[in-house]
Amino acid sequence: MSTASTRSPAPVKRSFTAEASEYLNDRTGLAVAIKGLGRKAFPDHWSFLLGEVALFSFVVILVSGTFLTFFFQASMAEVHYDGSYVPLKGVEMSVAMASTLDISFDIRGGLFVRQMHHWAALLFIAAIGLHMLRVFFTGAFRKPREINWVFGFTLFVLALAEGFTGYSLPDDLLSGNGLRIIDGLVKGIPLIGTWTSFLLFGGEFPGNVIVGRLYTLHILLLPALLVLLIAIHVGYVFIHKHTQFAGPGREPTNSVGPPILPIYAAKAGGFMFIIWGVISLIAALFTINPIWNYGPYDPSPVSAGTQPDWYIGFADGALRLIPPGWEFVWLDRTWSFNILVPLVVIGIFLLLVVAYPFIEAWIKGDTREHHIADRPRNAATRTAIGAAGVTFYAGLWAAASSDILATHFSLTMEGVIHALQAATVLGPFIAYFITKRVCIALQKKDREIVLHGYESGRIVKLPGGEFIEVHQPLDEYDRWRLVSHESYQPLMLRPNARGKITVGQRVRASLSRWFFEDRIAPVTRGELEASHTSHH
């Protein structure tokens, strides 16, 4: 700008944008950041946007939640409701419940924002779930992304905690029933259970402090952790680059897609508004958590059809699936295995989910980095394990709505429960077996297509009288997609440096055999050439 005074006036007719960006850049050094980030490419695939769905619904939750904090009062002091909802007029309830009713009926736009907040929360966790499934089934958790999988899993658990604390805040009948189950779960833990429950609720359930405590967690601690972990999680996506599916020109060392600026940012920005729009539309049209129906919490009544929000359903279902009689008195103490078994089973399940990347890496003995996403069929055993996990979760999840299933399909409750018990225990094995076979069959099909092309349906008679069907060969782009995946072989048992075969190695070898014994090797160049010469 020192030269500005010496310029001739005619050619320096600079646009406002240019002036403004230069002004900004001189003071913030923005250009360096934009050059660095803006040129980063982001691979394009619909499933890569699921994490963004979660992120954007979290933004909706933050904004709508801030609005709600202006009016919600987290107090369990008793008041007589005096708002405009007639069937609760004069009823004794906590300030928390009364202020939630005021938000719903007496504050302009309050009900809409409340419904937006709740619907967005349901969508947030659903999107996280789908995003996790995508990452799992494409193997996007492999090195170097294992730690980011752990961060993502932690985000999932935090989101569950956010959801549950939020569900408990209005102090209506439904939320109180939910807290009662948590109270029961805590009290079911041997030795420390009762003490922990009293610590949590500040005395005997329900006490008069729990809403205030949950509120602090819900709006302060958990959101702070969520924002921090989201920053780390997304930061690592930038550092590691996004994974991409195999394709011509796509190498482990590059990332093919539109650059963040301007194309991708514009798309993502627009996408955020679409998510806002979808949530707003749902919130405007569909009731969620009508606390005015449930009324204030009172420990005696429980409504038929009382369930947690969907994301806690699997835990509720686990409790419902336990057969009767698993609670007994021993050593003068009550042992509630009807509660302990589901707790332990769910604990193990979640532990397996978070540890899976490390387990798979150990079994493979693979220390290389992986930036090309697997097609699920090409990792048959992993996909089958995933299907088994999904089936197990689905069994627990469905059990949480056993009563609704019974009434709406004219079944007996006992029949539903027994069927779901069987589905939850046996279903994963069946799902594993079927999925693995389907994956291998699909690999076989891919191999066939690469070697012989598509069947064109055109029959040609050769001069010698022979009939052949003309196979249409693949173009190179499609072929690359089908042949570029890696193929693992079972690890060989080998003695270590001291000439010993350890137990760990034996376990690893047998797990490796389980993973890779049944496999279809991708077509090699030699096979491809051989097939071409043999046919024509």
Partner: protein, 263 residues
């Protein structure tokens, strides 16, 4: 211009249909007005004729299971002393005559006219004293909805759900939805305890409290949810199903659309 051209003196092609519809509305409306007007006054609870009519209906439609003198058989209970309220509920809601044996009597289209239901009810009432069909001032609401809502949550919601959407019981039995149940039938159900429902007698819940419960249920029936479509008032299961199928479904469709452009 075009308007003047159309004036050809011919009737509009839809005139005949409109006339026909008008005629049907008038005759139908007049019939409905007359028939409801006459139904009200006709059945006299104490007249011998009513009871005779009721007896005939009973012997033709109910005696197979309940016995010729309503004394009960091994496939149907005695009806002596169940009262007019019980008959009015069971027959008036279409549960009796029973469609088939099962965990509980299913509702089906009502088989008798209002008059016939009343005749049956008074015939049974004549066999022994029992709960009576409630007065209009108790069964048509007009009480304290807040008190009724509280009573409903404490006494009824564990089976019928807080919004009266119904719920599951053991072994295929269920508490039905109350979304379309009339005040008289709700009252009769409370005093007679049909199917698996317990009896809420007048010492348990006073007639005025019963009126308040009905007032609340009428409020729920008459007022749509302020939040929009209720999704069956089934609670979090319906909400979860909705967000997964329609919410996330719509969004996944959008993600596919967004990324499809580049391929």
């Amino acid at each position: 211009m075009t308007r003047t051209k159309r004036r050809t003196g011919r009737r509009h092609p839809l005139a005949a249909a409109a006339l026909l519809a008008l005629g049907l509305v008038f005759t139908g409306g007049a019939y409905a007005a007359l028939s409801t007007g006459t139904a009200q006054a006709e059945v006299d609870p104490n007249s011998q004729q009513t009871i005779e009519q009721g007896k005939k209906l009973f012997q033709a439609n109910c005696a197979t299971c309940h016995g010729l003198d309503a004394q009960g058989t091994n496939i149907g209970p005695t009806l002596i002393g169940v009262g007019a309220a019980s008959v009015d509920f069971q027959v008036g809601t279409g549960r009796m005559p029973m469609q088939m044996q099962g965990p509980q009597a299913q509702q089906k289209p009502v088989q008798f006219t209002d008059d016939q239901v009343k005749q049956l009810a008074y015939f049974i009432a004549s066999l022994g004293p029992g709960p009576e069909i409630p007065d209009d001032h108790l069964a048509s609401g007009g009480g304290d909805a807040a008190n009724g809502a509280e009573l409903f949550r404490i006494n009824c919601a564990m089976c019928h759900n807080v919004a009266g959407a119904g719920g599951a019981l053991t072994e295929g039995k269920f508490a039905p939805s109350l979304a379309n149940t009339s005040g008289v039938h709700i009252y009769e159900a409370m005093v007679t305890g049909p199917q698996n429902m317990p009896v809420f007698n007048d010492l348990n819940i006073s007639p005025e409290d019963k009126r308040d419960v009905i007032t609340y249920l009428k409020y729920v029936q008459d007022n749509r949810s302020p939040g929009g479509f209720e999704l069956g008032s089934l609670g979090p299961v319906a909400e979860g199903l909705f967000i997964w199928i329609f919410g996330l479904g719509a969004i996944v469709a959008i993600t596919v659309w967004i990324t499809a452009k580049s391929n």
